[in-house]
């Protein structure tokens, strides 16, 4: 069986700085994998290599068996099937919420206006912002904006979803709404690769947790085991800092 995502010996340099030092990793279809680790450990870069927002310096990336790092591959076509949610939401501020969710359906998938609108409304409803269709992104709270961003990605019928610290820019009281939507997606069987600092979410929702530090995967395993009983000293130290910040 082909993996939803497979990374083979992935290296990424920014100038002389090696951010990813040979990552091997797989995500299977229907799995939810959370990537945790200190800032600067390369988690976001890893995620961005999957849909080639960052071009890996060396190594291969496969998405559903297709090698996306192959220069002959139509990357736009590959990205259509990979939803991505960003830390800063990146909604299009000059369009209404509804247009945000419709535009790529119309321009990329060539769906008609009424079909795109119906799908947009359905997905906005699903993430709980159906009442905000005509608002501009700037008029919404961070939590609402992030849910619109999730709806925008879902409207493309992605086969898998990438989440890049989706709750890190949110006020604490708004985090729950976004996590609830992500949890629902996970329960529906969406394949998800999530970079996050939400240990509770990782423990409860993820099938696997990957701990990264210094550009390498330090520990990769069952969520409850990596968070509850980490085998590596670095993982233990990190989790201790995160879970008991005042010690």
């Amino acid at each position: 069986m082909t993996h939803a995502i497979e990374l083979q010996d992935l290296h990424k340099y920014f100038g002389r700085n090696e951010v990813l030092k040979g990552i091997d990793m797989t995500v299977d279809t229907g799995q939810v994998v959370c990537v945790i680790g200190p800032s600067g450990s390369g988690k976001s870069t890893l995620l961005r290599c999957v849909n080639l927002l960052e071009q890996p310096t060396r190594g291969k990336v496969f998405v559903q068996g297709v090698e996306v790092t192959d220069p002959d591959v139509d990357i736009d076509a590959v990205r259509r099937h990979i939803g991505m949610v960003f830390q800063q939401f990146n909604l299009f501020p000059h369009m209404t919420v509804l247009q945000n969710v419709m535009i790529a359906q119309q321009r990329v998938l060539k769906r008609g206006k009424s079909e795109a609108e119906a799908i947009a409304r359905e997905n906005l409803e699903k993430v709980g912002v159906g009442a905000k269709c005509d608002a501009l992104p700037g008029q919404l709270s961070g939590g609402q904006q992030q849910r619109v961003a999730i709806a925008r990605a879902l409207a493309m019928n992605p086969n898998l979803m990438l989440f890049d610290e989706p709750t890190s820019a949110l006020d604490p009281e708004l985090v729950g709404d976004v996590l609830a939507v992500m949890r629902q997606l996970a329960e529906e069987g969406m394949t998800m690769l999530v970079v996050t600092h939400e240990m509770g979410f990782a423990r409860q929702v993820a099938d696997r947790v990957v701990f990264m530090d210094g550009g390498v995967v330090v520990e990769d395993g069952d969520a409850a085991q990596v968070i509850g009983d980490p085998q590596q000293e670095r993982t233990r130290a990190f989790l201790h800092r995160v879970l008991h910040p005042e010690d």
Binding site: N51, L53, D76, A77, R79, R80, I82, G83, M84, F86, Q88, N90, L91, F92, P93, H94, I103, A104, R107, V108, L109, G138, A149, R152, A153, M156
Partner: protein, 275 residues
């Protein structure tokens, strides 16, 4: 004056800073009053009024002042603006292009047309038919004026657009690309509309500059139905040996440019609030 060293000897600092400020302000009022008195006493008001604000000469300017001169000024300015807008956007995109020769071409164009006086461009345009036999700028005199204003305005507008395009956050392109849009599609759908919104205030100022520069059409040797405000005022002034028509033309410019200036600063203020 305000920042006298704090270490000055206490004995010499007999005046407190506030007292010094009050005296300074008093002196400024005295100077102003003296200048005003001198102007009122020594200027020949009768002669000035005769030459710069003669009602019957001003009367002769109507109705052509509005129906011909202002109309033409607006035609030149709007036409030139549309050209500079489109060419400026193209130049800005070229300047930010991945293709190095495009960047060079754009840079060279911008440097040349910003570095030369606009008047020189207009003088050169009058020689185009000589340089290119059989070539005629489409639209005749209007076309020549619009071409000149468009070429010059594009260089400035390109820099305005470049700033606007660069001000759109990188995450916007990433979001568009992650949805499967091509680089070109992302520019057209996501980046350029936002950049245009951002550059509306400076672009309004560009339009005002262009409107004033339309007076350079004078040097194309226009006449009759093609004259714009400056040429119109100048012709009438020669005819009556009186500067009143130039003043009238000037007032007409102000009727357009001052509201536009206010509009630009209002738009700028609004941008500050919504961002």
């Amino acid at each position: 004056m305000a920042d006298q060293p704090m270490t000055a000897e206490p004995a010499r600092a007999r005046l407190s800073p506030r007292k010094k400020q009050r005296i300074s302000r008093g002196v400024q009022y005295v100077v102003l009053l003296a200048v005003l008195v001198a102007v009122v006493l020594y200027a020949d008001w009768g002669s000035l009024a005769q030459n710069f604000a003669k009602p019957d000469v001003a009367g002769h300017a109507l109705p052509d002042l509005f129906t011909v001169a202002l109309r033409n000024t607006i035609i030149y300015a709007v036409g030139g603006f549309v050209c500079s807008f489109l060419l400026g956007l193209l130049l800005a995109l070229m300047k930010l292009s991945q293709v190095r020769p495009y960047r060079w071409i754009s840079t060279i164009y911008i440097e040349i047309f910003r570095g030369l006086p606009a008047l020189l461009i207009f003088l050169l345009i009058t020689f185009l038919p000589l340089a290119l036999p059989g070539f005629e700028v489409p639209g005749g005199t209007y076309g020549q004026g619009i071409l000149g204003l468009g070429l010059v305005g594009a260089a400035y507008q390109a820099e305005v657009f470049r700033a606007g395009l660069q001000a759109v956050p990188k995450g916007q392109v990433e979001a568009a690309r992650s949805l499967g849009m091509s680089a070109t599609r992302a520019q057209i759908t996501v980046v350029i509309p936002q950049a245009i919104r951002m550059v509306i205030p400076p672009t309004t100022n560009q339009f005002v500059a262009l409107l004033k520069d339309s007076s350079l059409v004078l040097f194309l040797g226009v006449s009759g139905e093609y004259v714009e405000l400056a040429k119109f005022g100048n012709d009438l002034a020669s005819q009556y040996a009186n500067a009143t028509p130039i003043m009238v033309a000037g007032l007409t410019y102000l009727i357009v440019t001052i509201p536009l200036g206010y509009l630009a600063s209002r738009l700028e203020g609004r941008k500050g609030r919504t961002r």
